[in-house]
Symmetry: D2
Subunit: 435 residues, 4 copies
Amino acid sequence: MIPRYARPEAADIWSPQTKFRIMFEIEAHAADAMADLGVIPKLAAETIWAKGRDAVFDVDRIDEIEREVKHDVIAFLTHVTEIVGPEARFLHQGMTSSDVNDTTLAVQLARATDLLMDDVDLVLAALKRRAFEHKLTPTVGRSHGIHAEPTTFGLKLAGHYAEFVRAKERLAMARFEIATCAISGAVGTFANVDPRVEQHVAEKMGLAVEPVSTQVIPRDRHAAYFAALAVVASSIERLATEIRHLQRTEVLEAEEPFDPGQKGSSAMPHKRNPILTENLTGLARLVRSAVVPALENVALWHERDISHSSVERGIAPDATVHLDFALRRLASVVERLVIYPENMLKNLDRLSGLVHSQRVLLALTQKGVSREAAYAAVQGAAMKVWRGEAAFLDLLKADPVVRPHLTDADLAELFDLGYHFKHVDTVFARVFGEG
Amino acid sequence: MIPRYARPEAADIWSPQTKFRIMFEIEAHAADAMADLGVIPKLAAETIWAKGRDAVFDVDRIDEIEREVKHDVIAFLTHVTEIVGPEARFLHQGMTSSDVNDTTLAVQLARATDLLMDDVDLVLAALKRRAFEHKLTPTVGRSHGIHAEPTTFGLKLAGHYAEFVRAKERLAMARFEIATCAISGAVGTFANVDPRVEQHVAEKMGLAVEPVSTQVIPRDRHAAYFAALAVVASSIERLATEIRHLQRTEVLEAEEPFDPGQKGSSAMPHKRNPILTENLTGLARLVRSAVVPALENVALWHERDISHSSVERGIAPDATVHLDFALRRLASVVERLVIYPENMLKNLDRLSGLVHSQRVLLALTQKGVSREAAYAAVQGAAMKVWRGEAAFLDLLKADPVVRPHLTDADLAELFDLGYHFKHVDTVFARVFGEG
Amino acid sequence: MIPRYARPEAADIWSPQTKFRIMFEIEAHAADAMADLGVIPKLAAETIWAKGRDAVFDVDRIDEIEREVKHDVIAFLTHVTEIVGPEARFLHQGMTSSDVNDTTLAVQLARATDLLMDDVDLVLAALKRRAFEHKLTPTVGRSHGIHAEPTTFGLKLAGHYAEFVRAKERLAMARFEIATCAISGAVGTFANVDPRVEQHVAEKMGLAVEPVSTQVIPRDRHAAYFAALAVVASSIERLATEIRHLQRTEVLEAEEPFDPGQKGSSAMPHKRNPILTENLTGLARLVRSAVVPALENVALWHERDISHSSVERGIAPDATVHLDFALRRLASVVERLVIYPENMLKNLDRLSGLVHSQRVLLALTQKGVSREAAYAAVQGAAMKVWRGEAAFLDLLKADPVVRPHLTDADLAELFDLGYHFKHVDTVFARVFGEG
Amino acid sequence: MIPRYARPEAADIWSPQTKFRIMFEIEAHAADAMADLGVIPKLAAETIWAKGRDAVFDVDRIDEIEREVKHDVIAFLTHVTEIVGPEARFLHQGMTSSDVNDTTLAVQLARATDLLMDDVDLVLAALKRRAFEHKLTPTVGRSHGIHAEPTTFGLKLAGHYAEFVRAKERLAMARFEIATCAISGAVGTFANVDPRVEQHVAEKMGLAVEPVSTQVIPRDRHAAYFAALAVVASSIERLATEIRHLQRTEVLEAEEPFDPGQKGSSAMPHKRNPILTENLTGLARLVRSAVVPALENVALWHERDISHSSVERGIAPDATVHLDFALRRLASVVERLVIYPENMLKNLDRLSGLVHSQRVLLALTQKGVSREAAYAAVQGAAMKVWRGEAAFLDLLKADPVVRPHLTDADLAELFDLGYHFKHVDTVFARVFGEG
């Protein structure tokens, strides 16, 4: 985990203290269920909660024990015994380390996903506000980086909004995938632990019961989880790339906030760089890098091997914490994005109306000109505009194919921006459920 | 696409003929809608259907035209004009190539996914049949490749069944992700095409309407799609790996079908190799390789660029066709898997009961022996078994820590396989909804 | 393999006919060696060459046999027997299928790499020619997409040239990695085939001897090979991205060739899109997608399993053929790139000299102004330029911090483009070995 | 970086203190060169070294400054001023942050690679010692997990040795790729910094001069670097997988060291799991996960953007430190691997000589039996052995095809293990340069 791209709220989920707290709760809830089943004394379960409920775990001490016994869960339980006393011997009956570890991971991932979904809400709120603010702000739509036809800046943002609505659904599905509890004992047969213990712990920890665990929760769930995060990261990259493009010196239709006192470059005082969205682009790559190892983790050998463990020690905190950071940063960038409608208009006019070439083409065909002849005439004029020879409207007015069919008034109407915005309401209604 | 790993039914979805057929239907349905809206003559739309409904498209001719005009959709439309006649000029009004291409891809991917879901049904049926057949067949559960505790072969298969139930849900979600229709014109503003055309085509082609397209359908959908396929591929790999392990010479608990006349090796006549499941392992890697480029396709520039296109020409047919092949092959392997219960029993006994070490440990602690002392005693005996010095039961009977607490009858009971199978019904009920 | 991105020369390496030709040569050379060693009759080896040297293999027939015997090499050998007659029984003595298959793959990959290295030579030649053509063409250097300082277009291309020199070295290393011959028999012990046979075949096929094969050539070699191709693909993507940026409407400093008769868009006649470099971006993603499965192929089980085979049937032809196509396309784009020096100058001036901010800053500090004060003054002026309030030079001349230290002549000198080009010769000498 | 998989020597390369130390040295060496060129006073350069040579940098203070100025290199230089005094103003003249950052990263990666190459030496030494120890220890060679033919354990290890020799060459190439120095100023034109400064710093820091930098060192170098590490990681995975297979309960031909006092499982006292090699498998996945983002980092925009930076803050320390840890762990596992030659022999005999089927087949064909008839006879007998019906030798002796051609003595000779080991010396000579 890279500290500079970690919010404390997210990083804390992966702190040793939080992990041990969750592990304790799982063990203590399991003890409750075992006590109810008469497997262990009720008093033992009560004592465990009484002593452990507010305990602070001594992480260094646990590390010290682990160095000796070379087993992380045994080290944890040994330390719990130091806190709880002899009743701790009733903990973990018939359970395996994986029962605790995998269920703990499920809780951590579920909590991390709750943060991520809140983060997406912030992104959505920012996008929605700016989309309505610029619902009818004209700007040029670009395909292949080349001017195509007019659109509005609000429409651009509405598209990203719709994508982040999908992102939220994907995160909800991802949370559903991994939020399961397994307490099924060695090789998952429940030989020494009653399935009702699992049921109880699942309820208390806010998880579903894993239908079949084989000592471990099957890793296809985690693969699906990290894949979902990767798609969300790619959606961040798409919006970040859009902003980077809009801030290019020659375009400058929007710009990341640049704070007073900020220095864009140590060498060149004039610089204002889109470093936040470039950073988001990099973070997207980092978050995505969890996908392949997560997929490789699925095919564990037989009932389980432990090859997935080191991978998850890396990717679980890294991918969730960095994605949380990236979503927050994105929300802030969108919220504070400096938007230059006048530059949008200037760019839109840069090619003297070339963006209306389709309308002229269609108008000519509707007047009875063959599509081929109309295309050739309009393209011919357009190529002269690209070469800087003349303005598009002038060329059209002088064109022997165009002139007989389209009056100056016709052409003026064909160059009207409003024509392109008549369905903005339709799209906004689809996306925001309102106009 | 590798022909030897392609079923005709799946490959056909990606044939030029099928693609042109879908493209025609999209254009013709759009023409119907435009005719209803009074944008084009009703007679034109009728003629288009009348001439094109049963047409066979001349793929070579379309290629020939494309070489000239260097544009695939224009080539297609030119050929349609050759088939339909002059009314073809009413096709494609206000539409862009992407409207047709992206919607066609959606139809192809949706159809491919229908096949994949049928394939998963075959895998599920095979797994279920074999799971019930071997519901109580004892076998050793292994963690880390090392004998752990007894389980049943049916439980193993039930776990894979549950995983493929998830695979089917993931495919259903993936289908939902990509089954959308976009007919929104240049940069997605509907400037020259009414949104009701999109609505009509979507209904006719069995798709949802894409809320915001920007000339293209946003590629986060496709990234999510290929990610889902990759997870399914990894589930195949897990089951394939299990079978490969089971067939290892020293294990030989199950074996791929080996047909009369088959030669396992040109050089070594004795060979019977798990080549089908090894092949599935490789195919899983191939299908997964679509994930990264699909993620990289998301961040197109502005309203669209065409960098995604070449990628999808590769991964869309390859990933779907090879996954279809792999699922079918897997279903067949499971269906025909040769299972050796007697070898399972032999392996289970190989360590003279070491797999019962946990039960002995728990029994000792229940008799009041401290966990540490009990662990030391049982581990001590076990290590002698690993070194081949004696049988586990004999060592336990002679152990000074064990003997005072456990009679011969106690120990015999602790070595009972049935103890481990008491919750098989519970798990089967969870997985299959029945015992 | 996607036919539209495949040159015949490259695709032919992977045709069945070529493959069978190489397999025959390996077997026949091995027969020669065996005959020299007295293992098989000299006459047999001679007959094999006599009958097979110019044979055309009947691919359909071999497929037919394979469907029966379910073994590709046996099918091939059976067909060879049909061509050669009974002497064919002396072929393949003590060899395994992998001896033939892996050595054949080595030959195919080596030949494909030869093409790729020739392709890079074309890219290098085009880059060098254009670099010298524009050695001193001024253009703005951009960091973060924002104008930074002046550079020359030749310097830009020199950087890409240096990168493709590295690409060629990487391909040379990659070729070295995979060009090995293994004829070591079952599990690689040479039990039934003399190591001198391997030595002879290696020499004849232009390969090195694999030091230790375990029936297969170790797959770390192939992983390194495809990784090298992926890096080359990324270098293509970098140059393609540069060109796409340069062609953006607002930038338009360079443009892909646009042929007479070409249509940029079916709907918008004015469009001229950088579709070739967008395509190269996509192809780079495709080529890179071979890396992960190739890495996953390394850890075969014990002496070999066959999971790598299906993967390589896909990635070996696809990655090499598409990379070949991409390199050729790139060479052509660079060769024919339309370059607009006047637009470069116009863009360079767009910010009224802001690109000289560092020089002003340094000049002020050299006059004794503290770095902080100088930075504040220059940045202050620059921000006004960004806001469109005034021209940079005017602001500087009026600035109370700047004016006391820099005369009009000083400032004019600081705005001199030539200052930035004084080391172009140095860099060209490093890259091209000449000025 | 995951602390439990990090050796201090490796992690220290990436500590802030080390980074700032390298940054200081680069700046101070650059000052020396500038002083020699008369750009700054000689006394300034001397003072910088005098005050900074043994300075300890206050990392918290630098962080504090960075929070204010939002620029890491400016924060560092500000702190250096606090240490060095006013002469620090002569530092960094005409340089950019990237000059320092990229060259620092080059030094860090080069040092990390030196460690990695030392690590590989340890792996090689361990493999060589064990290979010679078991040069002629018979063991079964397995293809597809199925017994194939006899080999020796030394030959297995020799193959891995040869692979790690390649690993070392790949690391050497990778080091060569990234060990370059760039001090070329804004957009890489050397406008304000003499190329001789770069030359001097490169020499002092043990780097080559980067021929063309564009403010940054081109990222194809780093992509090639991380790709090389990924291949090395995969070679670790192959050997780790081999050991995991050998330790499987049913195989048990080798075993990871199991220390006194170690607990294999908290629940099952009998467990001895190959957790080290499973961990290596996971670490290999982690190290490999750097490849894709490193490839995505190559196509920076124009002269540079900063999207690579966050990625490299993650993958550079993580991949190098975890690979270092993995190589050391692997060396230790190989060094201490417990090898069971008697189990190897037992496994070799498990199929009553089936591993000799090829020899019998070849002997029959040499006696004049057609290959088809011989294959059918030997395969027929073998299949009975698989079914447990009889021993292979007995079946052969009773076989009507075999009996007329092979005497008991012939068959005994065909079952001789030594036959398979006659070329072990050849292979050892190739690999180790000695027998």
